[in-house]
Symmetry: C2
Subunit: 268 residues, 2 copies
Amino acid sequence: MLLIGEKLNGFIPSVGKAIRAKDEAFLRDLAVRQEAAGADYLDVCAAVDSEIEADTLRWLVELAEDASSLPLCIDSPNPQVLASVLPYCKRVGIINSVSMESGKIETLFPLIADTNWKVIALLCSNAGVPERAEGRLAIFAQIRAAAKDYGISEDRLLIDPIVHTLSTDETALSTFAECAGEIRKRSSKAHVVSGLSNISYGLPVRPLINHAFLLYAMQAGMNAAILDVLDREMIGLMHAGAALLGEDEYCMDYITAFRENRIGPLKD
Amino acid sequence: MLLIGEKLNGFIPSVGKAIRAKDEAFLRDLAVRQEAAGADYLDVCAAVDSEIEADTLRWLVELAEDASSLPLCIDSPNPQVLASVLPYCKRVGIINSVSMESGKIETLFPLIADTNWKVIALLCSNAGVPERAEGRLAIFAQIRAAAKDYGISEDRLLIDPIVHTLSTDETALSTFAECAGEIRKRSSKAHVVSGLSNISYGLPVRPLINHAFLLYAMQAGMNAAILDVLDREMIGLMHAGAALLGEDEYCMDYITAFRENRIGPLKD
């Protein structure tokens, strides 16, 4: 599993407040702790007014790269913002995100074509998110073709089938799982990713739903996630799931994670 | 999910001590708490020397039936012990267990043939537990045929495919899941049950493995379990899993469990 730490995101109220107050200590601490918890990338999302978003995200990128040794996942709904921040990233990371919404691929694929940057691609278009897996997989085919046109190899694609909210869509898991399975079957190299917490929106005790979803999504083929790596229970279940699914020979990763104090009751 | 509370079992050291000391208050409290936590049945297992097992189990049955309003799951590896205790049970419950080991079915099926007692049947024989699903399913066919001979309807069978230990068998989940899926496919009425904690034997932070296994086993078709109903995290994940698997319309059971303080952070 490729783990993208979700915490440096201005949509989280306490983090948004820290970003607006330029509280560097608070934000650096989040970067440090996510790295220690085992994140492979740090998502950075400014979530501020559009006129200051590019400058704020650039500031956040510099802070996060300085506080940790991890590459970043630069996150904005605005492709122009991502394009303007990209040159300031010292490490090769992930663009979050493109989709078939107009302007996104056209703006961003040329910029990363001759690099090693990865890109998260959401399976939606100007018409929204297709209700059923079939429609989302049609968008996957379009994104795959566009990547090929730009010479972006499939191992650099992280495909997000998009998770609906369980409280309003009983098929939220089954549709996601169908997409994930098909994507992995059709491409041996593309990753399947999810910012999974949307699954539990509107329900009580959201971590329970998020944790169970993570395990089922892993089984369906998801091999990357944007999640709270500081949620120790979730990371523990992820390692347990990998062992049960036969992806961890002799449970060595699981046992190592325990010995390194990354799962189970916190040792001092 | 049919939930069988596992706590009144002398193999648990603190419970074994209480049984040997005839500590009624301690044992009654376990019965009361398991009922409050949502158990459908209470497993009772004496786990004492063979010469006193029948008397001890009878005493435990009377105590548990008096302390709670639940039916019991009377549990012994010795079919003679089960046969001798059966007449003293006031409520119709579950026999735990038979298998194709000689003496078990022959002793117990005649006693429950004309009753509504259910029975847990382990997929093993005198030759042990078959390594692969195919061998276990052959035993299922034999048990099913024997039940039919005695006029025991399939809805009274709880089939336990037997869980191997993950630390020594990487296919522990996949073999269990294959059995569970096939049993549910071949019989629309038989339950699939598991005493699931064996999965985590020898590994650190066993609850993580047990919790993840429960979710995967539910998806594979397991619809009954002997487990620690006092493990609040596990019960929460079980409800979350049912909702994600589309078995809980509008998440009503999940939301009700939360409102009734059965899942999530404990409210006073």
